[in-house]
Structure formats: structure tokens, C-alpha cells
């Protein structure tokens, strides 16, 4: 503190956001945290939960397509493919 290495006020409370932005961030917390179920996009883990009934693949090609697609974790815990954009779009940096 003596060397000015850290600013206790900012370190403890973060930099001060303008009131309207603080309100907007609070509103995001309230809205998203208030959801009854979580919506999570999982780009890496594909497949199904063990306790979820999975339809038999129609063909080998179909199974490959599904395994390669990104998926979203639904409210009931089942892993379902995301909308078409997910498999088509690539991540930027």
C-alpha cells in the first residue's frame, strides 16, 4: 500500500462503474441467475447422458454427423445438438 502497489478501494470494490452500467450489470445477474434452468453451450463434449434414452442411429454416416456437431446442455440435462449455426460457424480470436 505504501508503495502504491495496490489501491485498496479499487482492489476491494473494483473500478467504479457509472450508475446506469452498474444497474445494467445487476439486471444481467438477476435475469440470468433467476432462470429456472441453465442453458449451457458445450462445444467439446458430445454424446448423451447415460440415463437419457437415446434413439438408435439410422446409419453410420448419421452417427458421425451428430458426434461431430457442437451441442447444448438443455434444462433437463440431456445433451442436444445446437442450432445449425453451431456446426457451421467457427470460433474467431
Amino acid at each position: 500500500v505504501l508503495r502504491g502497489k495496490l489501491n485498496p478501494k479499487i482492489a476491494l470494490f473494483g473500478h467504479k462503474l457509472p450508475k446506469r452500467d452498474l444497474d445494467a450489470v445487476r439486471a444481467i445477474y438477476e435475469k440470468v441467475e433467476g432462470r429456472e434452468s441453465r442453458y449451457e453451450l458445450n462445444l467439446y463434449v458430445t454424446g448423451s447422458d447415460e440415463d437419457t434414452e437415446t434413439p438408435e442411429p439410422k446409419s453410420e454416416a448419421g452417427a458421425t454427423d451428430e458426434a461431430g456437431a457442437a451441442s447444448a446442455q438443455g434444462a433437463n440435462g440431456a445433451t442436444v445438438p445446437i442450432a445449425s449455426g453451431g456446426a457451421e460457424e467457427s470460433a474467431g480470436s
Binding site: 502497489k5 440470468v32 447444448a72 445446437i82
Partner: protein, 300 residues
């Protein structure tokens, strides 16, 4: 070059010398910083573990604010941890139009919307890819000749490689080496330069965290580095702020100065150690200040 500038919380609260030195260095590189002072913390990966959608929404808001900065070429940060956390969220947002729409619905109340494809680069990446090493070299007025600098990348800016865009065309896990060389310094390699500094576990297992930091610092000392340089303020906290405690844990004297990247760049661009806030470090960068004094003395 005009950039939407994201300094991050740590650079403002815990390492103001980083924030300050970036402000001093930017005009010397013709970078115009437009600070995103309406944006909140990235969550540093912690919020994403608790609630992924919340972290993605908060970061999408920051990206949307960056996209509103008129004539900004890209968004720039000075924190590897922010880069890692933001890249993780952006990867999800850019991967799915329906997910992005879902997130943007939450932002709509503020009139904000994130459009896919924002370019967000750490200052290190910007130096190499936007300014260029040749241009950087041409702006050096005080080459770091004789200064032995150990790069400390940490983990957030080098892993996972695909998400961070590291490939043959963009060897971002080599950029610190290249920048040190472009500034005229000598690169000192050592075992821990791309390993975790230990910061993420400090609240759970302080001894292991300090042992990690102490080991990396000891490796650099054994390799006879004069100082380390890092693009991550959280690594700086564990390597500098906690260094006296790390010395106790590893049972050896370390006294290894740890510089922020803008400080090292500023030194080569002619700024003085004091201007760059080096007096604020816990481990006084004596070797760097002595080097600076001797170079200025020799020039006189």
C-alpha cells in the same frame, strides 16, 4: 491505431503500474486507447464455472461496447487472464447463431448487441501482429543490450492453443521471445516459462501456489536472468507480490524482478524506470534500474 482498450480489474486495483505504463507507452507506438470504462470484470473464468451463460452475457456486453467504439480497429487487453476468459466466452458466442441471439436478448434492454467476429488481442499479440517487430525495432531508442530477460507467459495466453489461435502462422507462444529480441535484450529460457504461476490456487492451497512461483523464479535465477517479463498481471502478483513468501517456502533467496510487458517496452522506447512505476514493485528491479542508469551514463 485506435483500439477499444480493456485494462481489466487487476491492472487498475492491484498493479496500477501496469495500467500507468501502458498509458505512457501507447502514444510512443501510435496506439490510441479508448478505455472501456463501462464494462465489468471478465469473471476470470470463475463466473463461467458457476454460471456459463452469466459469464458469456457479461463478456458479450463488453464485446458489444467495444464494437460501439467508433473507428476502433480491434479490442486490446493487457491481461492474459482476461484474454483467456474472454476467448473462452467468445468461442461459444461465435460458434452458434442461436446461442448468440439468446445472449443478445438479455443485452437488448441496454440497446446492445454483440456481432460475431470481434478481434480481441492482448498487447503482446498486437505488438507482433499489428505493429510488427520491424516497426517496433525501429522505434527503440535505448536497446536492452546486455539485459538478460526471462519470458514468463503463464498459462492463460498459451493454452488451449486452438482457442487462442496459436498455429504455425501465429506462433503466439513464441511472441515474448521475439519482442525481447526486437527490443535488443537477451532471451533467457528456463523450465517454467510457460507453466502456471500458481495464482489460481492460492486461496485453496497457498503452499503449493507459492512453491510453483518459487520454483519458476528459482529456475530463472539459475539461468542467470536479470529479470522476468510477463503479459499477465495475475502472474505478476504471484511472482512479485508473493515473492517474499515464496522465498520462505522454497528456502532460498530469489530477489528476481518481474516486469510487466509495457514496462519492458517502455524502457526500450526511452522511458525511465520511475515513469514506468518500477518503484511500486515489491521486489525492487535493481538490476533493471542499474542497467538503465549505466546505459544512460555511457551515452552521456
Amino acid at each position: 491505431m485506435k483500439v477499444a482498450y480493456w485494462p481489466g480489474c487487476v491492472s487498475r486495483g492491484f498493479t496500477p503500474e501496469l495500467h500507468g505504463s501502458m498509458a505512457k507507452v501507447a502514444p510512443l507506438l501510435d496506439i490510441e486507447l479508448v478505455e472501456l470504462d463501462r464494462a465489468c470484470c471478465t469473471g476470470a473464468g470463475v463466473i463461467a464455472e458457476h454460471n456459463q451463460e452469466l459469464a458469456d452475457t457479461l463478456n458479450a456486453r463488453t464485446f458489444a461496447l467495444a464494437q460501439e467504439v467508433e473507428d476502433a480497429e480491434l479490442m486490446m487487453n493487457i491481461c492474459s487472464t482476461c484474454q483467456g476468459a474472454q476467448s473462452e466466452c467468445q468461442e461459444r458466442l461465435d460458434a452458434s447463431a442461436s446461442y448468440r441471439e439468446h445472449i443478445n436478448q438479455t443485452l437488448a434492454g441496454e440497446g446492445l448487441s454483440y456481432e460475431r467476429g470481434l478481434t480481441n488481442k492482448n498487447f503482446l499479440w498486437l505488438l507482433v501482429e499489428e505493429i510488427g517487430l520491424a516497426e517496433l525495432r525501429s522505434r527503440v531508442v535505448r536497446p536492452l543490450a546486455g539485459l538478460r530477460v526471462g519470458p514468463f507467459y503463464g498459462c492463460y495466453i498459451v493454452r488451449p492453443r486452438k482457442r487462442l489461435g496459436i498455429d504455425e502462422a501465429h506462433p503466439r507462444d513464441e511472441y515474448l521471445h521475439r519482442v525481447i529480441e526486437a527490443l535488443g535484450g537477451t532471451v533467457i529460457e528456463y523450465a517454467g516459462m510457460r507453466k502456471c504461476c500458481g495464482f489460481p490456487i492460492i486461496t485453496m492451497n497457498k503452499e503449493a501456489s507459492l512453491k510453483q512461483a518459487g520454483r519458476h523464479l528459482g529456475d530463472a535465477l539459475d539461468a542467470e536472468a536479470d529479470c522476468l517479463v510477463t503479459p499477465c498481471p495475475l502472474c505478476h502478483l504471484n511472482l512479485d507480490l508473493q515473492q517474499p513468501l515464496a522465498e520462505d517456502v522454497v528456502g532460498r533467496e530469489l530477489q528476481m524482478p518481474v516486469l510487466h510487458l509495457p514496462q519492458l517496452v517502455g524502457l526500450a522506447l526511452g522511458l525511465e524506470p520511475k515513469e514506468l512505476g518500477m518503484g511500486r514493485h515489491i521486489v525492487r528491479p535493481t538490476s533493471v534500474i542499474d542497467w538503465s542508469t549505466s546505459v544512460v551514463g555511457a551515452a552521456a
